[in-house]
């Protein structure tokens, strides 16, 4: 599974970090950091993270 976040869209709402903390984290500066190649076992929570992104900046691909 491949995850891409469009950082031009991302506004650091942090909802992805709530839905899938294993893949998305907000760092000490309040900015997003993420794992672009998470394990397939995390698919459900990664798709939920994409769903709850207010600006729909997260793309999940096989």
């Amino acid at each position: 599974m491949h995850v891409t976040v469009d950082m031009n869209l991302c506004q650091d709402h942090g909802q992805c970090a709530i839905a899938s903390p294993a893949v998305f984290q907000m760092n000490d500066d309040g900015k997003l950091e993420y794992n672009g190649n998470p394990d397939d076992s995390l698919r459900d929570e990664v798709e939920e993270a994409a769903d709850v992104c207010p600006v729909q900046a997260i793309l999940v691909e096989d």
Binding site: Q11, D12, H13, G14, Q15, A17, I18, P21, M26, N27, D28, G30, D51, V52, P54, V55, Q56, L59
Partner: protein, 404 residues
């Protein structure tokens, strides 16, 4: 069995319902009936980025910027665009669309959402706007220019966001609100007053505790006549005075409770129907996080949350399988961006009878403020203003812990 599911409503709720039906194992045909001309798109940017855009994008450009991605699992979902549903007979499993066609269904998803409430006042119609759909945005973008006098009627969250965007665009903006400081029904008076002072310092004007009596002007609105007797000169008016649930197409089904949206049980099953669920802000459901009172929730997060549970319930109804029996207790959550403020809320602040400002200084909102909302001494919600996003998880967990 290959049951046919009709999803009525083609916005976020309808899209998520189709996706979640596939995730729940529904393999039969799904038809989404949508009054809108466009495939489902994300509405929050309409009052912000898309209204602020200084270029000259076409309708298709604007739609492309907010269209939801289509999941593979929903590639075979039949989106009937521009096809509204006039009426449905839930017992018979049939619906009629406005183009005169009759369609049969085995299961139904009610996802028709809300439409803007309109003021019933005298005066010209031209120059009066609402902002909910892409078409509304395109009409507004076609008329709004820097330097204009704009009145926004209604200082709720959408009204304040719209006002903030137009102020940044160079308009002169006045908010007219008949019932107290902006967003006070949710934020509470103390924080709402502070937000008003903050926005006033940025140049936004407020006319509070006064309403619109009528509009004056020739072909188009040129004057807002206030209930108090005063008046405001305007080029444009945007009405942001709440919403009305789109339930008229269900009114022939007398077993349903349509008194405020569509009454459902805690699993999103429509009360008074066998194979129907409701999704999104039209659904009035009880949330055991708070109590057993069914309520509609007009937050962006609700379509996604309710679609998952509703799809599982409908799939169980159609297949005779087991529906999930754990209580459904979604955590209400919303955000709002206004000028240099970002609000992030969890829970239901509007239920509170006591509000505490736990952190920060109400005269320095940009530095961060945390308000906590309690009912009978028990936490029901929080609103963070400009707090570090890394803290949101904890604030959300505090609300999740309310689950029985």
């Amino acid at each position: 069995m290959s049951a046919h599911v009709a999803v009525v409503g083609g916005s976020l709720a309808g899209l998520r319902a189709a996706e979640q039906l596939r995730s729940a194992g529904h393999e039969g045909p799904i038809t989404v009936f949508s009054e809108e001309a466009h495939l489902p798109y994300n509405r929050p940017p309409l009052s912000k980025e898309l209204l602020a855009d200084e270029g000259e994008p076409t309708a298709d450009d604007l739609h492309a910027r907010v269209a939801f991605r289509r999941r593979k699992s929903t590639e075979d979902v039949d989106f009937q665009l521009g096809v509204g549903v006039e009426q449905a007979d839930l017992a018979a499993g049939t619906l009629q669309t406005y183009d005169g066609q009759t369609h049969e269904f085995d299961g139904l998803v009610v996802a028709t959402g809300l439409r803007p409430r309109r003021l019933r006042v005298t005066g010209p119609e031209e120059g009066r706007h609402v902002l909910r759909t892409l078409e509304d945005l395109i009409r507004l973008r076609g008329q709004v220019r820097p330097g204009q006098d704009v009145v926004v009627v209604g200082a709720g969250f959408i009204g304040c966001e719209t006002a903030a965007t137009l102020l940044k665009k160079g308009c002169s903006v006045t908010l007219v609100e008949p019932t107290g400081a902006p967003m006070n029904r949710v934020l509470g008076v103390e924080l709402a007053d502070a937000v008003q002072r903050h926005h006033e310092a940025a140049g936004m004007r407020f006319v509070i505790d006064d309403g619109v009596h009528g509009y004056g002007g020739g072909d188009a609105v040129a004057e807002v006549q206030l209930a108090s007797g005063g008046s405001l000169t305007v080029d444009l008016v945007i009405e942001s005075v709440g919403s009305v649930p789109n339930v008229e197409w269900l009114e022939g089904n007398t077993s349903l409770d349509l008194s405020d949206g569509v009454l459902t049980d805690n699993s999103m099953g429509v009360v008074g129907a066998d194979r129907a669920v409701a999704v999104g802000d039209i659904a009035r459901f009880p949330n055991p996080l708070f109590d057993d009172v069914p309520r509609r929730v007009e937050h962006w997060s609700i379509p996604t949350d309710t679609a998952k549970r509703a799809a599982q319930s409908l799939q169980a109804m159609l297949s005779g399988g087991q529906a999930p029996d754990a209580p459904f207790a979604p955590i209400p959550s919303f955000w709002s961006d206004q000028l240099d403020l970002r609000f992030q809320s969890f829970g239901s602040p509007s239920l509170a009878d006591e509000i505490r400002i736990d952190e920060g200084n109400l005269d320095a909102l940009t530095d961060g403020v945390l308000a906590t909302y309690l009912r009978d001494g028990r936490l029901v919600g929080s609103v963070a203003v400009n707090l570090d996003p890394a803290r949101q998880r904890r604030l959300r967990d505090d609300i999740a812990a309310l689950a029985p």
